[in-house]
């Protein structure tokens, strides 16, 4: 037991970081489960982080309240953006959401209320390990139950074949819209927890490179598998610590692992033991080959 306490004292920051990254990974996995690639989760995390932090600093409200308001704010922005954007397909959705993320970043950089490029500091340090893992457990339970609900089946159906899903009376654009909004809300929770963990946030925390990190968690874990996403987040968060001795070259390991997964194990870690033949196919061979294009109007 003392050994465990010692381990925790030594690595508590990393343990918290893993949990927060896992929540970010879950947020992306929701849209990936519906088969679409939206890359604005880092931006939504940032929006919620700013909203929640400003409320904590100015009003002193507790973390639960500020986080929920922050997540609601992210979901609201997600709904506004989602309405036009979720009609786009494939690469175009990815690009539109990347563009939105960059715009959000530039706005945060120039507003006075967000502290501009210098960021917001003196955010109350209210995030604790148990809170993070409680949220993670709740979300894990939610994702586990989701698979058994009508909504869960609709999501899976849209991922596998939009046209077939539509012929069963499922509206693919509704599924895409609501997974997008839900994904923004979960990313918002992660962003608020991150802000209250680190005292300090700046626009740079929510840029494209963070988005790539989140995407990497999901791909390593196995696209569209919530469990895989969490494991991927843990693995990728730990890797830099393990390879610290490589100094400047340690990112190479990240790149090689990622490349190897895409090339040799497209189902990710989850695919290594999963015998589920219905496993998500987003990263694997059989994705539709038509030119990824544009709105479905």
């Amino acid at each position: 037991m003392p050994a465990l306490v010692h381990f925790y004292a030594l690595h508590s920051k990393l343990i918290d970081q893993i949990g927060i990254n896992a929540i970010f990974a879950l947020s992306l996995s929701l849209t990936l489960q519906a088969g679409h690639l939206a890359l604005a989760n880092a931006a939504f995390g940032g929006i919620a982080a700013y909203v929640a932090s400003l409320l904590s600093i100015s009003r002193g409200w507790p973390l639960v309240v500020t986080t929920l308001i922050g997540a609601a704010g992210a979901a609201f922005v997600g709904a506004l953006i989602g309405m036009p954007v979720t009609r786009l397909r494939g690469v175009f959705l990815a690009i539109a959401t990347i563009g939105f993320g960059e715009i959000a970043l530039i706005v945060e950089n120039n507003l006075s209320i967000t502290g501009g490029a210098e960021g917001l500091s003196q955010i109350p340090n209210e995030t604790t390990t148990w809170k993070i893992y409680l949220v993670l457990a709740i979300l894990g339970f939610f994702f586990w139950r989701l698979r058994l609900t009508r909504a869960g089946w609709a999501i899976a159906a849209v991922r596998e074949d939009e046209h077939a899903a539509a012929s069963f009376g499922i509206d693919p654009s509704r599924v895409k819209f609501w997974t997008f909004v839900g994904s923004a809300a979960i990313a918002g929770i992660a962003g608020s927890l991150y802000a209250h963990e680190n005292f300090f946030i700046a626009p740079g925390d929510w840029g494209f490179s963070r988005m790539v990190d989140i995407l990497v968690y999901c791909v390593i874990g196995g696209v569209a598998s919530p469990w895989g996403a969490m494991i991927g987040a843990a693995l990728i968060s730990i890797l830099p610590e393990v390879f610290r001795f490589l100094h400047d070259y340690r990112d190479i390991v990240n790149g090689i692992v990622l490349l190897a997964v895409v090339v040799f194990a497209p189902q990710g870690i989850a695919g290594l033991w999963s015998s589920d033949r219905r496993a998500p196919r987003l990263a694997s061979a059989e994705t539709p080959t038509e030119v990824p294009a544009i709105g479905e109007q």
Binding site: L88, E102, D248, G255, L258, A283, S284, E290, V291, I294
Partner: protein
């Protein structure tokens, strides 16, 4: 004031266009969004700088580093895309997007390991920097070189695509890989050559922009990567003339918005335009291919 802004916009636009042409070429042929293109852009810029610092003249460094960019791009294809193609993973899926990100991470990490994280400049006098004047616009010899070389490379590319057997093969593979193979086209070789050309163009853009601003850094790829996306969306994904037009338009838009509006939202222009185009007209200004696929 206006003359100067116009000149600045054109010089900036030329490099955007040169970068975006290689980017969009890969998309046009393989439907792949190649997010390692910016890493090749950055790596070539460093190779040219290193050669100049070791005493080679700038033109020699330019030629060698451009070839390096092409070669690196072929390596990218072999490592990151060819294995997926062999398994039948189509463009437009997540796989190639991720593997190109992975390759980009590796290249960036290697370059950071070799050259360090700091911004570097060319030695004094290594780059032609005499001052020139046209009308009320002042610019340097290097600016002019950037424009001339960019335009020349884009002209050569369009002639190559239109009027040579290789160009016909590339266009056939872009249209339909299987049909091209049935017609006796060596698809893998054509794709490799496409990557060679795209990488050389991206590399050349990196070398030129590094010399023009006298600043070469690990981050320069990240900075242009998303701007390049805006350019190819503006022009139309996969359209070469579109990328050229989009590049110059974005260069001018940015420069004039800084001059007449505000500098703080300069970078937002690119993404606002991109976002609007995607919503209103996802095929872009000249995007024939994408529009037809709808």
């Amino acid at each position: 004031m206006f003359d100067q802004q116009l000149a600045n916009g054109i010089f900036l636009g030329a490099v955007y266009a040169l970068f975006a042409v290689g980017y969009t070429l890969i998309f046009g042929v393989l439907d792949i969004l190649n997010l390692a293109h910016s890493a090749i852009f950055m790596a070539s810029s460093f190779v040219a700088l290193a050669m100049v610092r070791h005493g080679f003249p700038f033109w020699a460094a330019f030629v060698v580093a451009t070839c390096f960019g092409g070669a690196l791009s072929v390596v990218l294809d072999r490592l990151a895309f060819a294995p997926l193609r062999a398994r039948g993973v189509g463009g437009g899926s997540l796989g190639p997007l991720i593997s190109s990100i992975a390759f980009g991470i590796i290249v960036v990490a290697v370059m950071r390991g070799i050259f360090g994280p700091d911004e570097m400049g060319y030695p004094r006098g290594a780059v032609p920097n005499a001052n020139l004047h046209v009308g009320h616009a002042a610019f340097t010899m290097m600016d002019l070189w950037v424009l001339v070389v960019s335009l020349a490379m884009m002209v050569v590319l369009s002639v190559l695509l239109k009027a040579t057997p290789l160009g016909r093969a590339i266009r056939a593979v872009a249209e339909n890989t299987k049909a091209a193979a049935l017609l006796g086209i060596d698809v893998e070789r054509t794709i490799a050559l496409t990557f060679l050309i795209a990488g050389a163009l991206g590399g050349a853009a990196g070398i030129l922009i590094g010399a023009q601003f006298n600043a070469v850094s690990i981050l320069m790829g990240q900075r242009i990567e998303l701007k390049g996306l805006a350019v190819i969306i503006l022009g139309g994904m996969g359209s070469i003339p579109g990328a050229v037009l989009g590049g110059f338009l974005l260069g001018l838009l940015e420069v004039f918005s800084v001059a007449y509006l505000s500098s703080s939202y300069r970078d937002a222009i690119a993404f606002a335009v991109m976002f609007l185009i995607l919503i209103v007209r996802p095929s872009g200004l000249l995007g024939r291919r994408a529009a037809r696929a709808a």
